[in-house]
Each structure stands twice: as structure tokens, then as C-alpha cells.
């Protein structure tokens, strides 16, 4: 996360985005049914009374790093920042000219 750059806001590149990225066939996993299925009541294990041992609750004694809380982007040299900077400069220059 921390290293990923913000996507370019350049209108050319953003409008070309779908063309630039080859159309990949949608993953099977994204096509699945949206329903929360019933858990099996009997038959194959685990039983509906499965124990905490086989869950996230106890399996990982050390809390896993699942969420990024500090994600602020201080980079002022990426494409988007450079464009905004140019715009600020341009507007400033046009004001001083007047």
C-alpha cells in the first residue's frame, strides 16, 4: 500500500485507461453467487458446532496486520501533484501579470 503511487490524473492517460490495460477475462471468483450460503448442517465436517481452534479467533495468537491506518500520501512529486502544482503556478502567474 505504502509504496503504490496514485494513478495518474492526466486526462489522456486516464481516458485511455481501459485500452491500455488488456481486457482480462473476469475471474471466476467475481462471478459467483452473492448469497451467503447455509452452513452444512450435517454430513461432512466441520459440524455446525466447530470449535474456536479452527478459526481466526485463536489460530493466530499474534494479531495479523490486516489494515492500514496510516496511509497518507506525502508525495508531492507524482504526476497528479505535478499537474496541480503547475496549475497553481499558472494561476499565480496570471494574477501577477494583471
Amino acid at each position: 500500500m505504502a509504496t503504490s503511487k496514485a494513478p495518474s490524473a492526466d486526462p489522456k492517460s486516464s481516458s485511455d485507461l481501459p485500452a491500455e490495460q488488456p481486457q482480462q477475462p473476469k475471474q471466476q471468483t467475481l462471478e459467483e453467487d452473492d448469497e451467503f450460503e447455509d452452513f452444512p448442517v450435517d454430513g461432512t465436517p466441520p459440524s455446525p458446532h466447530w470449535q474456536a481452534d479452527d478459526t481466526e479467533a485463536t489460530q493466530n495468537q499474534q494479531p495479523q496486520h490486516l489494515w492500514e491506518e496510516s496511509w497518507d500520501d506525502d508525495d508531492t512529486t507524482d504526476d497528479f501533484s505535478n499537474q496541480l502544482k503547475e496549475e497553481l503556478k499558472k494561476v499565480e502567474a496570471s494574477k501577477t501579470k494583471r
Binding site: 486526462p11 467475481l30 479467533a57 489494515w67 496511509w71 497528479f80 499537474q83 503547475e86 499558472k90
Partner: protein
């Protein structure tokens, strides 16, 4: 002896033994039953045709007499039971499995009759397993109907069309909710003791009802059920893991639908943690809402989470959204949403992201503007550390205006690298635009056809409305109110002044733009405290402990 008599004799035997399991085994309603059920149906058709006579009712009462002296642990037929058995025989007489509308109608009627019988405080419990099985059959039928819109239209087309009519899914949910209510009211065990009697099925019926309510997109109708659970429901921890996980999943989604993202996160986190690791599909379904809940609370999924098998494909959906929020890049944000529009829309996430993430994008854009201005001002200059840190609205008007223009299809006036003009735009025209338009003060120019028309939701402020100082001030005021910006608005100076930079060693960005998760969490706590104060004054509803989620009954401690 006729088949009906044999059947009723067996049923009477099970009733006397209070043998719920055998009653369930015998009271089958689906079409994949042994031929004997169809033979019995034929017999009823010929002996007790549907002609308005009460002969069948009398016959059932005769075969199932109420016992006077019933010993402990044994049972007896009761009027509601007989009425249900009569309806059961009529079900087999009238059902036509080739006509799904007929099956739905007959089964619904039978369920209502079963719910009435279950309500008997003394013997009702012997019909608990039958109630579960019948409810599951109805739920299965209705859920399969939701996947056949043409059949659904046939059934729902019969309605009066006054706009108030309930969908069949909703009606089925209503019926199953009757079982829930009956089980919740069972007094054979207390709230915090292992459930007994009908209480064992409280969450099973709750989950069946929730499944149907979510299927017909009427989750708001679950409010009463959650309120009842909060008031008198048994502790969730006393129930099997599969029921806990299912319930918390739906409770999480309910809170998500009602914009309680912190509560949604709590429920879904627990559902995910308690879900057996082998159920990948279930864990994936939980993640589908748990990740968005966290994004809306200001926390992004880590690569650790996104690389888990149940999260396959989620990175390409959610990471571009997170990345756009980080930098306040509205153009990238819309592109990210539109790339997976169908997937997000089907899961009710598209509009939520579109509207609810806007404040976070504005926070990102104002923050970026502040950083850029600071970097520009500090170039070659020193010694302005005494100057109070502030964000000029004029600067935000410029950066927001730039983004708005990009959304409207503007293109760079002076491309940094030589590139051919866009199709249909001559270089002469471009030059003319730059030179002729009075007050040209942007690095962008519109396309010949003029700005692209934007839907209200697509623009920064509202459609094609150009961001100006007033609208920026209003946005900033909203961010300050929401706790996303720390400071105050200096109206005269048209600025937002950052407060508390000293506390962060002079780091004005850290002070003015606190971490989103931290800030929203603080706001969540404040709104709870406000609710607590209101409750103390006798206004509003009673508020539980901080972090409590209505409907989720935790242990008594």
C-alpha cells in the same frame, strides 16, 4: 386400514411420546418423498374432496383425541396441533408440484398453521424441528423464485397494485419471523443459560428471516427483530458457531446498509474471526462487506489480507479506490469505481462509495493542496516558521477547479511532451483558445464541443458547478465538523487555519489533517456520548455501553 388412518395413528404415537424428530421425519412437504405420500394424497382427494365440508377436520379430531392425564415428559395432541395436521393433509390433497405458484401458496398457509401450533406453551416445542424443516423448505422455494423473475412476476402480478403490496419474499420472511417470535418468548431457559425448549431455535429462525429480508432488499424490516433480541434475546455465544457467524454477517450488513460502518466492522470482524477457516466462500462473502466497512472508517485493507485466498480478485477492485482516496484524486476515483461498476453495484457498494467516500477525497485534495503550497513557498525561502499554518481557499479553488476540468474532459493546453492534438482539434484552434479566451489562467483547455455534461454525482460540487470560494468554504466547514480537519475557518482571510501544530512538533499537516480512522473513531465516540447525555435527559433511546451493537447480545458480564 386406510393410509390416512395409518398416518394419523403414527402421528398420534409421536405426539404422545413428544417425539419431535419423528414428527419432522413424517411431516414431509417436498416432492422428493416416497410414493406412499402421493398415494395418501389420492386417498384424501377421493374421501375428503375440497367442497367446504368440515369432514376432514372432524376425522382428524377423532383420530387425534386430546389426552387428559399426561405424564411428565410425554405429550398430547392439542387443538392447534390438530388444525395443523388437518392443514397438512389438505396440503397434500391440493398441492401441485408442477405449479410453483400453487406450491408457494399452499406451503405458506401450512407454515402459518404450523406457527400457530408451535405457539402452544406446553406442547408446542414438539413441533420445533418440523417448524425448522418447513421454514427451510419455504425459504428454499422462495429463494429459488427470486432467481426466476418471470415466475415471481406471475405471483406478484396477482396483487392489487396499490404500491403497498408485499413481495412474496417479504411475506415469507413475515411468516418465518412468527417462529422467531414464538421461540424468543419461550421461558424454559433464562437469557444467559444454555438454551432449552424453543429457545434453541431463536437464531436459526432469525437467520432464515434475515436471509429472506436481504434477498428482497428489505433489510430495514429487521429492526424490530434486532430490538427484540436486544431486549430479551439469549446470548449469541450460547449458540452453534455456524449460527453465530451467519447472524453476525447479517447484522454487519444491516449496519452497513444503515451507514453504521464502525458497528458493521465490529460484527463482520467477529463473523470473520469465528468462521471456520475451511469455509472460503463464507469468508469471502464476509470480506465483501468487511473491507468496504473499513475503507469507510478510514482503514485500508493490507496486502496481507488481500493476498488471502478468500480475497482473490479484491485487490484489483479495492486498491485503486484506496489509492484515489489517498491522493484526493477524483478522476482516478471515478475511473476506479467505473471499472468494477457492475460488481460494486450488485453488492450495494457503488453508491455508498460514490457518496460516502467524497469527504475523504476532499480531505485528500485539501491536504495535497496544503502540501504543494508549503513545498512551493518553502523553495528558496526560509524563516517563515512563525507564520501560522493555513490553507488558502483560493488555492483549493484552483486545485479543485483543475480536477473538475479534468472530469469535464478538458485537456492540457501545453502538453509537456510533444503529442498530436486530440482528434478533431486543430493546433490553430488550440493556439487560438489559449490566446483569445480572456483571463485564460489554466493549464487546461476545453475540447471543441465544450465541457462534458456531468451527472450531479460526477462533479466535485454538483454536476458542472464550478468550485468557488463559497463552495470550498462549505466543504471545508463540513470536514471540520466531521473531525477530518483540525482547525478553524478564518472567513475574512478566506483560509482554513490549522490548530495544534505545536503538539506535533510543528508538523502542521499532521495536526490539521489527523488520521482518518482515528478522527472518525473519535467522532463515533462523541456521537455515542451525545446519545448517552440525551438518554440521561430522558430524550432519545437508551444507549448501551460504548462499542455495543444493538441486536448483538453478548454475555451478561
Amino acid at each position: 386400514m386406510s393410509l390416512v388412518v395409518q398416518f394419523l395413528t403414527k402421528i398420534r404415537g409421536f405426539a404422545l411420546e413428544a417425539d419431535g424428530a419423528s414428527l419432522k421425519d413424517w411431516l414431509q412437504v417436498e416432492n422428493d418423498v416416497p410414493d406412499i405420500y402421493y398415494n395418501m394424497a389420492q386417498e384424501i382427494k377421493s374421501t375428503y374432496p375440497d367442497n367446504g365440508s368440515d369432514a376432514l377436520e372432524k376425522f382428524v379430531d377423532k383420530c387425534l383425541p386430546e389426552e387428559d392425564d399426561v405424564q411428565e415428559g410425554r405429550g398430547s395432541p392439542w387443538p392447534g396441533f390438530n388444525s395443523f395436521i388437518k392443514d397438512y393433509l389438505e396440503y397434500w390433497r391440493d398441492v401441485d408440484f408442477d405449479d410453483v405458484v400453487n406450491v408457494y401458496t399452499r406451503l405458506s398457509e401450512l407454515l402459518i398453521s404450523c406457527a400457530n401450533a408451535l405457539a402452544n406453551p406446553t406442547y408446542g416445542v414438539m413441533l420445533l424441528q418440523t417448524s425448522m424443516a418447513l421454514s427451510e423448505s419455504l425459504s428454499k422455494l422462495v429463494m429459488s423464485l427470486t432467481r426466476q423473475p418471470e415466475v415471481l412476476a406471475l405471483i406478484e402480478g396477482d396483487e392489487t397494485g396499490d404500491g403497498e403490496s408485499k413481495s412474496i419474499v417479504e411475506m415469507a420472511a413475515d411468516i418465518i419471523q412468527k417462529f422467531f417470535t414464538s421461540c424468543l418468548g419461550d421461558r424454559s431457559s433464562t437469557r444467559w443459560a444454555p438454551p432449552k425448549g424453543k429457545k434453541v431455535a431463536v437464531y436459526l429462525f432469525a437467520n432464515l428471516t434475515l436471509k429472506l429480508l436481504f434477498a428482497c432488499e428489505k433489510s430495514h424490516l429487521a429492526v424490530q427483530m434486532f430490538t427484540n433480541l436486544s431486549t430479551s434475546g439469549p446470548a449469541l455465544s450460547l449458540y452453534p458457531a455456524s449460527q453465530r457467524v451467519t447472524f453476525l454477517y447479517y447484522l454487519g450488513r444491516f449496519n452497513f446498509d444503515n451507514a453504521h460502518y464502525f458497528r458493521a466492522h465490529m460484527c463482520l470482524e467477529e463473523a470473520y474471526r469465528q468462521c471456520h477457516t475451511s469455509f472460503l466462500k463464507h469468508r469471502r462473502q464476509i470480506l465483501t462487506y468487511w473491507i468496504p466497512s473499513n475503507i469507510l472508517c478510514g482503514r485500508f485493507p493490507s496486502l496481507t489480507l488481500l493476498s488471502r485466498p478468500e480475497a482473490a480478485g479484491f485487490a484489483e477492485i479495492f486498491l485503486p479506490v484506496c489509492s484515489a482516496v489517498r491522493s484526493g484524486n477524483f478522476v482516478a476515483f471515478h475511473a476506479a469505481l467505473n471499472q468494477h461498476r457492475d460488481w460494486l453495484w450488485e453488492r450495494g457498494l457503488y453508491l455508498v462509495f460514490l457518496y460516502r467516500l467524497k469527504p475523504l477525497l476532499w480531505r485528500g485534495l485539501t491536504r495535497k493542496t496544503f502540501l504543494l503550497r508549503s513545498s512551493m513557498d518553502s523553495t528558496g525561502q526560509e524563516g517563515d516558521s512563525n507564520k501560522a499554518a493555513s490553507l488558502s481557499f483560493e488555492d483549493v479553488v484552483v486545485t479543485a477547479g483543475y480536477v473538475q476540468k479534468l472530469l469535464e474532459g478538458y485537456i492540457p493546453a501545453h502538453p509537456s511532451a510533444p503529442r498530436p492534438p486530440p482528434q478533431g482539434v486543430s493546433t490553430v484552434f488550440m493556439k487560438a483558445v489559449n490566446n483569445v479566451v480572456p483571463g485564460q489562467n489554466s493549464t487546461l483547455v476545453p475540447l471543441p464541443g465544450g465541457p462534458r455534461y456531468l451527472m450531479p454525482s460526477e462533479g466535485l460540487i454538483f454536476g458542472n458547478k464550478k468550485p468557488d470560494v463559497d463552495s470550498v468554504e462549505s466543504v471545508v466547514a463540513g470536514l471540520v465538523y466531521g473531525g477530518l480537519l483540525q482547525g478553524f475557518i478564518a472567513r475574512q482571510q478566506r483560509k482554513f487555519a490549522v490548530e495544534g501544530a505545536k503538539r506535533y512538533g510543528g508538523n502542521a499537516v499532521r495536526a490539521g489533517w489527523p488520521g482518518v480512522y482515528e478522527a472518525l473513531g473519535q467522532r463515533f465516540r462523541e456521537s455515542w456520548e451525545e446519545g448517552l447525555e440525551a438518554a440521561d435527559r430522558g430524550e432519545g433511546e437508551v444507549v448501551g455501553d460504548f462499542g455495543e451493537c444493538p441486536g448483538w447480545v453478548r454475555d451478561s458480564s
